[in-house]
């Protein structure tokens, strides 16, 4: 009796391990991949998909070591990461799964609604220190950032700060939830989060990338019609040799059903 149970367990495990695939990387994409994996496993019960976070860099490192089949990145693969993979004889393929817009948020009581990219750069590099310099009340600006390990941190630096460094001594929070929490309870606060995380505890800023001519509100619709400027693609990367193994899952994410999940979570769908 015991033996039969044991053998069936082993058999089932073996069966699953054949069709198991791992996804690793960006925390931003975690809700998307998890939801997609759940739905995917409902349709194909013989597959198991394990999703883990850790950060975009962790995903690429895992792909390099071969401990994951699919790496999820909230930024484009870096040139030297690509080179490293090439050095190990791996060529990676890139798939854009969704788009994510970054929203600039402030405390709900803040009167400032519009900010240009130049003003944002000034705030986050420490050149603008008081809200009255950007049309608000006389109150010191407290800027919040994510930790250096986050892909969001890198993307914001690239897009808004034009690769300049954040100011020395910026408040850095370990998670998006912590940023929302802190900003909702700090009057002079400003920070950035993914569009999906916006809620009524914080106020989203309208952003202009054309020197203050047009200010655009961060909404899914504006991100979709490309009027909102701070939008980044979310990627899946995989080794071309394992393509047959991961292709069904990627096809599922890009299908109508998968893109429905994308919108549900608050990202912008690809098509």
């Amino acid at each position: 009796m015991k033996k039969t149970i044991l053998t069936t367990v082993i058999l089932i495990a073996a069966l699953f391990s054949v069709q198991a695939q791992r996804i690793k990387g960006s925390d931003t994409m975690l809700p998307l991949s998890q939801k997609a994996a759940e739905e995917y496993m409902k349709i194909n019960p013989s597959y198991t998909v394990t999703v883990t976070g850790g950060g975009s860099g962790v995903g690429i490192a895992a792909l390099l070591e071969g401990t994951t089949e699919l790496a999820q990145l909230s930024r484009k693969i870096k040139f030297d990461e690509k080179n490293k993979l090439k050095g190990k004889g791996k060529t990676v393929k890139e798939v854009i799964a969704a788009y994510d817009a970054l929203a600039i948020i402030v405390h709900p009581s803040n009167k400032v609604t519009n900010l240009s990219r130049e003003q944002l750069e000034g705030i986050f590099t420490g050149k603008i220190k008081n809200w009255k310099e950007v049309g608000g009340v006389d109150m010191p600006i407290v800027s919040y950032s994510r930790e250096t390990s986050s892909g969001t941190y890198e993307f914001f630096k690239e897009s808004v700060l034009k690769k300049k460094n954040y100011m020395n001594g910026i408040m850095s929070m370990p998670a998006t939830g912590a940023i929302i929490q802190s900003i909702s309870q700090t009057k002079g606060a400003i920070g950035y989060v993914g569009l999906a995380y916006l809620n009524k505890d914080v106020k989203a800023i309208h952003v202009s990338y054309d020197g203050g001519k047009t200010y655009v509100e961060p909404t899914v619709a504006n991100a979709k019609n490309e009027t909102y400027p701070i939008v980044r693609p979310l990627y899946y990367y995989y080794d071309t040799t394992t393509e047959s193994k991961v292709k069904p899952f990627i096809d599922f994410v890009l299908s109508d059903k998968g893109q429905e999940i994308v919108s549900e979570i608050g990202f912008v769908s690809v098509n």
Binding site: G55, V58, N83, T148, S149, N168, G169, M171, Q185
Partner: protein
């Protein structure tokens, strides 16, 4: 008849005596066997204990060696990111730049070469990625073999350029390209630097001073808050409280020690931080003070339990003789019991400080993690453990950032070691003097 009887009795006696003798002998042999058996077991136990002891010490030693080996590797890392070089035109008189100057150039804080001792011309910053927006992708060739030529072209066209490019694509044949000498990361930059920007490109800044001062700052005030409170509660529990009160209070306090630190952190972020901000009218609530308060709460159970145990360990004779000499209850407490228990109290303080300095999660959540040297209690700080926890996940293994985090671990280790050694020293001296 009688003679026979006598003989019989005599024989019987002799017989029992001989039997007894034999029994004794047997018993004796058995006991020797038993003794030897026990000896072997004892010896085995001794060997095993020695073995486990030495394994533990060896493991600790290996961990320390590993820590220092990884950490000290930082000073063999180039100050410009590994695999990359900074280039200028040969006509540029600048030969070398410090990491700080490099950061300022790329942040466009220094915009003219004359500030660095060069010509009075504006600096043109060029990053490697810029090349891809200047030329179409096809012009670089299949394996990017034409990339160095293109980079060389860009550099020779702009006399005031500073280019940050991978060593692999360095245009070696181009005579107008000069590499800036950058050298390795220096110890003075690490220990005296005031800026912690470990992911800045091209030249990361590892100034550890804000982190060390931040850690000490938060822990110092935590102990300053926790010590009087903890000692007070310990004295109350051991000397003044009734049995029922103590039976109620002590488990409650010990329960505090069992709460996970992330729960403390969350409590701090959601309750303590807004409270501090509102009552003190601060621009931010995430301050060193919030961290100190949370750490004090976390260190309290340790301090109270150990100090209370030490005070209750004071012999009854000491108490009674003090009372018999006419001392009041209060005099007995602070003249006899506290001095007698001083080494235990010292141990409580050291463990409390250890908990405060090494605490990661709670501090990470409430102190704001801004890497600046603290000037007041009401501004954000960044501690060493929080830095390691927040950054190690993404730091590429073996890189300069990774090594710098290990070196931070070494610093933390040295700090805690110094504290425990000095505590040992103090408690020994007090013990000799006091009792």
């Amino acid at each position: 008849m009688t003679a026979r009887k006598v003989e019989f009795i005599f024989n019987a006696r002799r017989k029992t005596k001989r039997e007894n003798n034999m029994k004794d002998k047997k018993n004796f042999q058995l006991s020797i066997l038993n003794f030897q058996c026990r000896k072997i077991i004892e010896r085995m136990a001794k060997v095993m204990l020695t073995f486990s002891g030495s394994i533990t010490s060896l493991a600790i030693l290996l961990i320390i060696i590993f820590l220092f080996k990884e950490g000290l590797g930082l000073f063999h890392s180039p100050s410009v990111e590994k695999g990359y070089v900074l280039c200028v035109q040969t006509s540029n008189p600048i030969e070398t730049l410090t990491p700080e100057q490099i950061k300022k150039i790329f942040d466009e804080e220094i915009t003219s070469w004359n500030k660095l001792g060069g010509r009075n011309e504006a600096i043109k910053v060029f990053r490697f990625d810029d090349i891809f927006s200047m030329y179409p992708e096809e012009e670089f060739g299949q394996e990017y073999e034409l990339l160095p030529d293109k980079l060389g072209e860009v550099i020779s066209q702009n006399p005031n350029i500073i280019a940050y490019i991978p060593e692999q694509y360095l245009p070696k044949e181009n005579a107008s390209v000069k590499i800036l000498v950058s050298g390795n990361i220096r110890m003075t930059d690490f220990f005296k630097g005031k800026e912690w920007l470990p992911t800045a490109t091209p030249s990361p800044l590892f100034g550890v001073l804000p982190l060390i001062t931040g850690t000490l700052w938060v822990s110092f005030f935590a102990i300053l808050i926790a010590l009087p409170l903890g000692l007070g509660v310990a004295i109350y529990l051991s000397e003044l409280a009734g049995t029922r009160m103590r039976k109620l209070l002590k488990p409650t306090i010990e329960l505090l020690a069992g709460i996970p630190s992330v729960v403390y952190g969350f409590f701090g972020l959601v309750v303590l931080v807004p409270l501090i901000q509102k009552t003190l009218h601060l621009p931010v609530g995430e301050t060193a003070f919030a961290g100190s308060l949370i750490l004090a709460i976390m260190a309290l159970p340790t301090i109270i339990t150990i100090a209370e145990d030490a005070m209750r360990g004071t012999p009854k004779a000491m108490r009674e003789s003090s009372l018999a000499l006419g001392a009041t209850h209060w005099q007995t407490v602070y003249r006899v019991i506290v001095p007698y228990a001083s080494s235990g109290i010292m141990a409580a303080v050291v463990l409390g400080i250890g908990r405060a300095i090494g605490e990661t999660m709670a501090v990470l959540m409430v102190t704001g993690n801004a890497a600046v040297i603290p000037h007041s209690l009401f501004q954000p700080v960044r501690t060493i453990p929080a830095t390691i926890a927040a950054e190690l996940g993404e730091a590429p293994a073996g890189g300069a950032h990774y090594q710098s985090l290990f070196l931070l671990g070494c610093i933390l280790f040295v700090i805690t070691m110094l504290i425990s050694v000095s505590a040992e020293f103090i408690s020994k001296r007090q013990h000799n003097k006091g009792v």
